[in-house]
């Protein structure tokens, strides 16, 4: 069984936000509008965090792209009262939109803030509703949603490989997710962490690799690469 993971090279990242935009378009992320946005209701499965350390003039700033970390030990799954958020066989942390009761316990327990709430019934302004991705389900108002590591693309890739009578290769996977595909700096990699030959598993073992807040014990499956760790 594969163990899907991602590696993001912070030394290559230019914080252009192409990943964030690609994710919004790919996953039919609701457009909440400027008013709701000002009230901090904007939904963005992928987010680029500004990490600033020190005080002027001795500042050190860097940007940290943040998808869902699909933790090995996910705090959100532990607390869900109805089993709406769960870990699938391949280790992805997913949400069953038909089960979720909107208690938002997962939102409060995720230390990384990757989970978003559909506060109201959001709709797409014309003509954008014509451009919805048919592969990704729309979420009803009231439920929680988050990054899925583009599971629909993963399923499609598996199907295509099966149709051609071959195994999934590392080359199929590295740029599989929408965020990785859009990255102009080639700073992002996707793949099977359990395959010792895969790009992600090689990079995750590099001395530049680290994960965010490892002391929390959540075991994120997203690794960052940087000469200077924080």
């Amino acid at each position: 069984m594969p163990r899907w993971g991602m590696v993001i090279d912070l030394d290559k990242c230019t914080a252009c936000q192409a990943c964030t935009v690609a994710c919004l378009a790919e996953n039919n992320v609701p457009i909440v509008g400027p008013e709701e946005s000002l009230r901090h209701r904007a939904i963005s499965w992928h987010y680029v965090l500004a990490d600033v350390e020190g005080e002027y003039p001795h500042l050190r700033a860097r940007f940290i792209p943040r998808p869902c970390f699909h933790c090995e030990n996910p705090p959100c799954v532990k607390v869900c009262p109805v089993g709406a958020t769960y870990v699938d066989e391949e280790g992805l942390v997913l949400v069953n939109y038909d089960r979720c009761i909107g208690c938002k316990y997962c939102v409060t327990s995720c230390p990384y803030g990757v989970r978003y709430v559909n506060w109201l019934h959001y709709h797409w302004p014309e003509p954008m509703e014509q451009y919805l991705n048919p592969e990704v389900p729309l979420r009803p108002e009231g439920v929680v949603e988050k990054c899925t590591f583009c599971i629909h693309r993963l399923e499609r890739a598996k199907q295509e490989a099966a149709d051609q009578g071959r195994e999934l290769t590392d080359a199929d996977l590295v740029l599989l997710t929408a965020c990785n595909q859009a990255c102009p700096a080639s700073a992002r990699y996707f793949g099977d962490l359990d395959d010792p030959e895969s790009t992600v598993s090689r990079l995750a073992r590099s001395p530049r690799a680290f994960r965010l807040f490892e002391d929390l014990g959540t075991e994120p499956r997203v690794y960052y690469l940087a000469e200077e760790k924080s």
Binding site: R39, R41, V79, C100, G102
Partner: protein, 436 residues
Amino acid sequence: MDLEKFGKHGVLFKPLVHTGKGFYLVVAILVLIIVWGGGAYIYQFTQGLGVTGLSLPVPWGVYIINFIFFIAIGFGGTLTSAILRIFNAEWRTPITRAAELMTVCGVVIGTINVIFALAKPQRFLNLFLHPRIQSPLIWDVIAIGSYLILSLIYLYLPMIPDIATLRDAFPKRRRLYGFLALGWTGSPKQKRLLERLIDLLAVLMLPTAVVVHSVLAWIFGMTIRPMWHSTIFGPYFIMGAIFSGIGALLFVMVILRRVLHLEEYLQPLHFNNMGLLLLIMALTWLYFTIAEYLTVFYGNEHSEMIVFWAKMRGEFAPYFWGQVLTCLVIPLALLISRRTRTIMGTVIAGVSVVIGMWLERFLIVVPTLARPILSYPIPTYRPNWVEWSVMAACTAAIALVFVLFAKFFPIVSVWELEEEHEKAATVKGKATPEAV
């Protein structure tokens, strides 16, 4: 109708017989508030949780605070009636029924607030259809469910003899009272059984209440968020629940005393004793608060200190110092000296504590959420009119239950009072000849 036929405690049945203009006025005002709050909730239900002041990263607000707050208010009822019953404190008798009613109201209204907090409330039955026992929220469903059933029975059982009195006194309402009286005749066998059942329930209520408040605390304690992930939360919540419960009960007592003219039954002694309990709890609160904050301060862990300073001198400082004022300074100032531990003094202290404990719940829920460990833009959570309206309706609903309850049943347990008088009389009767 003549009150004399109810015996010497006839005054306790007065509200059942006489209905003044004041009653209709109060009911009308309360119903109006409830309708207003209900309308606000219907608006929220149809539009979505987005009509409230909630947002990210603070998706829990007034509803979750009230969930804890109202259930905690109910603990005052459990404590006064169950603990004092177990310890056989005679002075509790006139307060127990109001206290037990407060428990039921607190638990029901508190639980409803969870449904208000859901973004998809029409699916709340999933809590029963697809429960995951590993989730602390399901521990709450189980614990609060048991607590609600126990507290309803515990309110009802001691009412049976009084309901039987009413059944005999009001032939017109025979259907209601006759059904509820369960064929009570007052035979010694029935009395023995009833008293044993009440004692059993009193013993069961206490551990259940302890579990309820612990699992409420563990909703927060079981996460890994700064200043939530703390072992003191269970005991802190239990202690806080007793604290605010006593405060609320003092408030209920003084209103009943004024409105129903229970001066003879709710005497300065009762307020004095409850005031002393409140004083002890205020000092316990001080100890728990120091234990929590000093440990965090000395640990000096980065993410915890961000929340710590947000409470001490950041945007939440008014709440924190307001809580110190209302939970500690005001109660201590009023309750230490016998001169100010009057009815007025204890009630002011009680109300102050109730306000302070609401602030404490706010400080538990919101600041941790408002300071995520990753650097997001930080909004301040401000409840809006929808949340305030629903909260006002919740409070009005509790008041309305008390008003209507007092209209149909005596709010003081008459048969227990009579029994006590009899006991006192026999003790005196025995004592006198021996002394001679």
